[in-house]
């Protein structure tokens, strides 16, 4: 049996078994496979924030991660906030065995991207890898994805995204994966994106989340899912009267690079679309389905002019790289990406000085994402008192931070995803190419479900997610727990309200925990 067939059969069986398993069984399976629960051991020390305001350690935990677990504050305070930033900017040096093994164990469909993005040596605890050494780099071919049921793929992608956010030690990397997933948003419910988004997540977003923007842009431009989602596959000029499909060309400039006010014209959109004619994807019903191809006969090979730069006739497939070079190195792109990053990490309306500094680093490093982020985290605006605890967590951040703060175990199954859906923020469910909005205004109507989630979490009413409440309070201590949740000491009013309510759910539902 060929490896591919072997993987498909065992994978499909695992998927079917996964569908029929109760959340409790899934969680027990996790434990059996890993030899321990997926939540961290509560072995302290649990030095909690002791300041009435958000200190440096609490601030970086709030912004660079999906929220601190018990013990994280103590570690970061000891290490120092700036060293923590450096640590998080080098995810390949961070060991992440527990998270990687959960993903490998549960999601055969995702083909273990970490093994190629963060290469590792032999894992003697992985029986599959020991039996089949070749599986160490088992990145799947895109076409293999079609062997999965689309619903299984969506469920696997969604659950893996939540589990990585909860479990991974590479927190900033996961935060950036979410950032770029929104930036290069693809909703899998369109056409073959049902299958191909899994490859996009692996080969575009995860491969480059802390890499180089230009390489990510290139990968996205020839990602089969993106060619489907923004109709690039239908952008052709086989006959002189064929009109190019300009959907991708427009979003490339409006959303992926220059920004809507970045200084391009309708003429530029048409010209970019002409440059990209001929790139297409093999369809589901054909051999080599999902393969991206350049069809010379469908390419408009005449001369073009994009953003003031001439592209002579006859470059064929080479037009793609010329166009990407032009848009990626345009000054508006640096400003636009810097503005979006500052909006994510500093404030919904970020100060211009911070945008400028970040944009400068982006330009000088030719789109190196780590250098750009390092510059952002070095701005005084990032550390300003008015920046701290002033962002409204998006629902995904809220939910994951609550799970992390309470050291809950979760298998990220259906009921948890339903909570995210009610708050309108389940991964991979955003229909238009602009991605989930960042600003607080869009999320203010989600309070009822945040409160309900807080109650359900603490009362263990979410199937597949479990908080060991008594152990948590006993080992961490009530006051330390409250301070960890808030990132600071509670105010007098908060202290009184928490005491009278006598329920940790109120802390999670409180205004302070909605912020980061």
């Amino acid at each position: 049996m060929k490896r591919r067939a072997f993987m498909a059969v065992t994978g499909a069986a695992a998927a079917l078994a996964g569908c029929g398993k109760s959340p409790k069984q899934i969680r027990n399976d996790f434990r059996r496979a890993l030899g321990k629960p997926t939540a961290a051991d509560l072995d302290g020390p649990f030095t909690a924030p002791a300041s009435a305001t958000i200190d440096d350690a609490s601030h970086v935990l709030a912004r660079l991660t999906f929220g601190p677990r018990p013990g994280d504050y103590a570690r970061v305070a000891r290490l120092g906030a700036k060293l923590f930033i450096e640590e998080q900017l080098a995810p390949e040096k961070i060991g992440d065995r527990l998270c990687e093994r959960v993903i490998r164990h549960e999601f055969g469909s995702l083909a273990d991207p970490e093994s190629t993005i963060f290469p590792r040596g032999k894992d003697e605890n992985d029986p599959l890898q020991m039996l089949f050494p070749a599986l160490k780099d088992r990145g799947a071919r895109v076409g293999d994805l079609y062997e999965w049921k689309d619903k299984v793929l969506l469920s696997d992608l969604t659950r893996a995204t939540i589990l990585r956010a909860v479990l991974s030690e590479r927190q900033l990397y996961e935060v950036m994966v979410q950032f770029w997933s929104d930036h290069f948003n693809i909703d899998p419910s369109k056409g073959d994106c049902k299958w191909l988004k899994a490859a996009d997540d692996r080969d575009v977003i995860r491969a480059h989340a802390l890499g180089n923007f230009r390489e990510m842009l290139r990968a996205s431009a020839v990602s089969p899912a993106m060619l489907w989602y923004l109709d690039g596959r239908a952008n052709r000029r086989s006959k002189p009267e064929d009109k190019p499909n300009e959907n991708y060309a427009r979003e490339l400039m409006e959303l992926h690079t220059l920004g809507v006010h970045g200084g391009y014209t309708q003429q530029d959109v048409m010209e970019v679309a002409r440059c990209l004619t001929g790139w297409t994807v093999r369809e589901k019903k054909k051999f080599f389905k999902g393969r991206v191809e350049f069809k010379k006969y469908a390419h408009d090979d005449g001369p073009k002019r994009v953003l003031g730069v001439d592209i002579p006739a006859g470059f064929g497939a080479g037009d793609l790289d010329r166009v990407l070079e032009i848009v990626a190195s345009h000054p508006s792109t640096a400003t636009y990406i810097a503005w979006k990053l500052c909006r994510r990490f500093i404030a919904d309306e970020p100060p211009q000085e911070a945008i400028d500094a970040t944009a400068r680093a982006f330009t000088e490093s030719k789109g190196d994402i780590r250098t750009t982020l390092r510059a952002l985290f070095a701005t005084s605006e990032f550390w300003a008192p008015e920046t701290r605890s002033a962002k409204f967590k998006r629902p995904f951040h809220f939910v994951v931070s609550a799970i992390r703060a309470t050291n809950a175990e979760t298998d990220a199954s259906k009921q948890l995803i339903e909570f995210l859906q009610r708050m309108g923020h389940a991964p991979f469910r955003y229909p238009t190419p602009d991605g989930y909005p960042e600003e607080a205004t869009h999320w203010k109507s989600t309070l009822l479900w945040r409160w309900n989630f807080a109650g359900a979490l603490m009362d263990n009413k979410i199937n597949g997610t479990r908080v060991s409440r008594a152990e948590l309070v006993r080992k961490v201590g009530m006051d330390e727990l409250v301070a960890t949740l808030l990132g600071r000491l509670p105010s007098e009013d908060e202290r009184a309200a928490f005491r009278e309510a006598g329920d940790l759910a109120v802390v999670i539902a409180s205004p302070a925990f909605q912020r980061c």
């Binding site: 339903e418 009822l448 109120v506 205004p511």
Partner: protein, 378 residues
């Protein structure tokens, strides 16, 4: 076009609610709204044709299925409009493909209603969008803050004591700005839902709801609308229209449920129906000719209903050419289809305008389609 504020009736928050009823399975428009003056109809359906003397006459061309009689009042009051020969461009006649295409609004990501809600200013209501049933329908994919509701209990503040809630309210009372306002709105909504759940619901104006799932779902939607929780859009399905065999029996019960549910809801809401629109749609109609099993098979055009405030009702909208010259269904087929003369998007578009949609957003809601909205509103 009246502004939302101008037509506020009993709806304290001035909001309008759009309810989408999806008839899954392909409902037979020619049985729901038979062309009772067209001889071709009775020749094509010698056994299943709805006889002129039992149909509820609507005008000089059409009648209603007798079990839809409860809707006659809405028609006569001018609150019910019908578009016949209506459907999508999907030629597959596959339930799945046709439903998907129609609910997505084309080969596009997300659902048309979900995308529509995303084009709106940020929703302020805690419960702006509800899907009655067990799963989120495709048309609501991508909607902000959508809740799949099986009972009104889903909206309670998770079994928490009043003490806990009071402390939470105390904490949010200290918040100014957006968060404080949003919290106060949410506490108001919770109180209204609690009040609603604590007493047995008595429908207004002598309305009584049947006990089937469809009527129960509509009743819960009526409760939510009256409780002013900010409901802007809701979906509810009525399944089982795939009438290949013994259609009369099958449709007998479904048509009754459809009509009594809608009529009770309308009666219960009374004046507030002015702020509500109910759209009834299906993925395709059925073959003009009956088959040998006393049924009909997957076809193309069906009938679409728009019930609610402001609609130019009591009349048919869109094109109709009769059953005289039809396209054969395929080479050698003795079946014919009612052609799709009216695209469903051209019915939905004016409804969305009524619900605050801006025409400049329609490229997002119904991409790659040259809209020609029907003049459903005055």
């Amino acid at each position: 076009m009246a502004t939302p504020q101008a037509i506020i009736t009993g709806n304290r928050d001035g909001r309008r609610t759009l309810i989408v009823v999806f008839q899954r399975g392909g409902a037979d428009g020619l049985a729901l709204v038979p062309p009772i003056e067209d001889d071709h109809y009775y020749r094509a359906r010698p056994r299943l044709g709805i006889k002129k003397d039992v149909a509820v006459r609507l005008d000089d061309r059409f009648g209603l299925h007798p079990n839809l009689r409860p809707l006659e009042a809405a028609w006569k009051d001018g609150d019910l409009a019908i578009v016949h020969a209506c459907g999508s461009e999907d030629p597959t006649r596959s339930h799945f493909e046709a439903q998907d295409l129609m609910e997505h609004g084309g080969l596009v990501a997300g659902g048309w209603l979900g995308r529509f809600l995303r084009t709106r200013p940020a929703l302020s209501g805690a419960l702006a969008c509800v899907a009655v049933g067990k799963a989120l329908p495709e048309c609501l994919l991508g909607a902000p803050s959508v809740t799949v509701m099986q009972s009104l209990n889903d909206f309670a503040l998770g079994g928490k004591s009043v003490g806990v809630r009071n402390q939470l309210e105390r904490l949010y009372a200290m918040e100014s700005g957006q968060l404080g306002t949003a919290a106060r709105d949410t506490f108001d909504a919770i109180r209204r839902i609690d009040a609603m759940r604590s007493e047995k619901y008595v429908p207004a104006y002598g309305a009584t709801y049947a006990t089937d799932e469809f009527s129960t779902g509509l009743q819960q939607l009526a409760q939510l609308i009256k409780a002013d929780v900010g409901l802007e859009a809701a979906s509810i399905d009525l399944d089982g229209w795939d009438s290949h065999f013994t259609q009369e029996t099958l449709l007998g019960s479904l048509t009754t449920r459809l009509a009594t549910g809608l009529a009770s809801f309308r009666q219960d809401l009374g004046e507030r129906m002015k702020t509500v629109t109910i759209v009834v749609m299906t993925e395709f109609g059925r073959t003009v000719q009956e088959n040998s099993a006393f049924g009909t098979d997957h076809g193309r055009g069906g009938a679409m209903f728009v019930l609610g405030g402001g609609v130019k009702g009591g009349r048919f909208h869109g094109e109709w050419r009769g059953l005289g010259q039809l396209e054969p269904r395929g080479v050698g087929s003795s079946y014919e289809d009612l052609p799709v003369l009216n695209n469903y998007r051209n019915v939905l578009a004016p409804v969305l305008v009524r619900h605050g949609g801006r025409t400049e957003d329609f490229a997002k809601v119904f991409p790659d389609f040259p809209l020609a909205p029907l003049p459903l509103y005055g």
